[in-house]
């Protein structure tokens, strides 16, 4: 199945753009998706601890399960204010 990736700030540069589609196995979790990203671009590896995930506009933990068409946001530490 396919999910839509959004990446913000520094993670956008690592992803190579603000949006991308990615194919993942049925029943995949965010952790599986992250592993896929690290395989494709090893620069993601050291960013694992600091990255937060949102699924369809809500913050979620990385054991969240994905569904076809989900919007997954990759977010580095916040800098607002």
């Amino acid at each position: 199945m396919t999910v839509r990736l959004l990446a913000f700030a520094g993670l956008r540069d690592v992803l190579g753009g603000p949006k991308r589609e990615l194919s993942v196995a049925d029943g995949a979790t965010l952790a599986d998706l992250w592993a896929e990203l690290v395989r494709a671009r090893p620069q993601f590896g050291p960013l694992e601890g600091s990255t937060r995930f949102a699924l369809n506009g809500r913050l979620v933990a990385r054991d969240a399960t994905l569904a076809e068409g989900d919007e997954v946001a990759l977010m580095p530490p916040f800098g607002g204010g």
Binding site: F8, A9, R58, L59, P77, F78, G79, G80, G81
Partner: protein, 140 residues
């Protein structure tokens, strides 16, 4: 209650008007302003803010509701700017109204503290000379 994210310069007066009411004797506001900082990287010329608007707005609403529950009742308005903010321009504005001043101060300080930790906004420092760097908030 009023929560906004956008590129227009921030004005505090509409936020004050949004929270004012005959039951509230105290209104406290916070403005975060871009400073002419001298970093090791150079002199900051502008901060460029980016937001994941949907998530940022829902978290701003949650923070306002928490501030009201913990310290209030209080009315809260929060606006955050996106895009380039030059030195002296406000990047965030918060207004809190409560019956008495201690609650208004506490709720306003809570709102900006939590915003920095929890709201999906990022800033890039742009230095004189053209260098730039994403700058996360300090962990608390």
């Amino acid at each position: 209650m009023r929560y906004e994210i956008g590129a227009a310069p921030l004005e505090i007066a509409p936020l004050i008007a949004a929270v004012a009411g005959p039951e509230n004797g105290a209104i406290v506001t916070f403005l975060g302003v871009v400073r002419a900082d001298d970093d090791p990287e150079g002199t900051v010329e502008a901060l460029v803010y980016e937001a994941y608007e949907e998530l940022a707005l829902s978290e701003m609403r949650a923070i306002g509701a928490e501030a009201s529950t913990r310290f209030g009742p209080a009315r809260v308005a929060i606006a955050h700017r996106t895009g380039a903010c030059g030195v002296g321009e406000a990047s965030v504005a918060i207004a809190v109204a409560a019956a008495h001043r201690a609650a208004a101060f506490d709720a306003c300080e809570y709102a900006i503290d939590e915003l920095k930790k929890r709201v999906a906004v990022w800033k890039q420092e742009r230095y004189r000379g053209g260098a730039a760097r994403w700058r996360p908030n300090a962990e608390v």
